[in-house]
Symmetry: C2
Subunit: 216 residues, 2 copies
DNA sequence: TTGTTGATTTCGCAA
DNA sequence: TTGCGAAGTCAACAA
């Protein structure tokens, strides 16, 4: 961890210049280098491993295989310390889309009374549909699950429906977009495409799910 | 800047837990808080301003307006230092999409012989089309520019074309997707929609451009 | 304030 | 390795 007055030049996927100012240079154990200012959550410049750092005099040269280069010109070092953090057990996440899909696969009657699951991750040639279900009339429904449904989620489901309806064994298949939140524009476009929007309640799904006895 | 053995719990847009380990806690002047381990380029946990940090004993509680909460339980502080970095002049970038658009607007004959520019950032009710050109036959062409064209770029241009072709003064307008790189799926979908893909060479564009004499 | 779009996005998963 | 979709995406910019 070095705090220094420095200027930085990056050439690679684009060209960028960082004028002389005081910043934090962080070199991690895995080779990651980050250059942070005193505001904002993202570093101004960085380099991801694998990369090589060569320090000569007051010039740091960081390069990687792809030919990207970070030149750090050090004007003055204000702080320099090193710390051994050891390995990190990592972050445990809960509540993401995958989890929603698992819960809904188990309880697709949340989408409609008497609905049943035909298949999870039903493959098409442009990617898998989250759920393929049978509704109360026996008709097939393709379900796309999002945490927050936006316009591109509607586009995605539309593409799936086009593809899936080319299969005479499956067609006709209608679409359901299931999400915790919807942007107004997603609702409008979905309505326009004949796609039904279903709002999910994560806590309710999670609360209901354990009460379902598994018959393995 | 604090280096400490700590565990972290985040509740907000999702729930996440970070088991006890040694990490870097960074508190920036603008209120940003970052929790970094010794590997990876992004922090495991963070909170963006505006947020409030309350330190009581060995517990840090960080909250924001949206009801998100970060609980940091400090086990042992290994390092604690503070540094005044001052304001940063910020990063100067070159070579991003906006720049490509400027270059192409000046040299749209790169897209086809005798092509001319009608308008840059042509407005539609769902957003501006990057370029509106006239091809060698006098027909109008809507051009969408990307650094890397993916499937959603094709969707975006498709929406623009639908809108723009509703205007009897402009229709018919065909589409060109110009990018430095294309994903295979973008090419397939573009072909499917009758959209032409044009590969751009940034160095060539930049190299050619200064040779164009300006008439004042 | 809200919405849209780009990003040296990063990250994870799967083919 | 490559491709593709998700992300607590972040951040800039316009309406």
């Amino acid at each position: 961890m070095v705090i220094a007055r420095c200027s930085v030049d990056y050439t690679g996927r684009l060209s960028a210049h960082l004028p002389l100012a005081t910043r934090l240079l962080m070199v991690k154990a895995d080779g990651t280098l980050l250059i942070h200012s005193d505001s904002g959550s993202k570093p101004f410049n960085w380099m991801s491993p694998p990369c090589s750092l060569v320090e000569s005099d007051m010039l740091w040269r960081v390069t990687n295989k792809a030919g990207e280069e970070l030149l750090i010109t050090i004007d003055e070092v204000l702080h320099d310390s090193s710390h051994d953090l050891g390995v990190d057990p990592g972050l445990q996440k809960d509540g993401v889309e995958k989890h929603l899909q698992e819960l809904l696969a188990d309880r697709c009657e949340v989408l409609g009374a008497s609905w049943s699951l035909i298949r999870r991750e039903h493959p098409t040639d442009i990617g898998p549909v989250d759920l393929l279900c049978r509704d109360e009339t026996g008709a097939r429904v393709a379900v796309e699950i999002k945490r927050r449904a936006e316009i591109d989620g509607v586009e995605q489901l539309t593409r799936y429906l086009q593809r899936i309806n080319l299969d005479p064994w499956l067609a006709p298949v209608r679409g359901v977009l299931a999400a915790q939140q919807f942007t107004p524009q997603a609702r409008v476009l979905a309505a326009d495409r004949g796609i039904t929007c279903v709002t999910l309640d994560y806590d309710e799904l999670r609360g209901i799910e354990p009460s379902t006895p598994r018959l393995f």
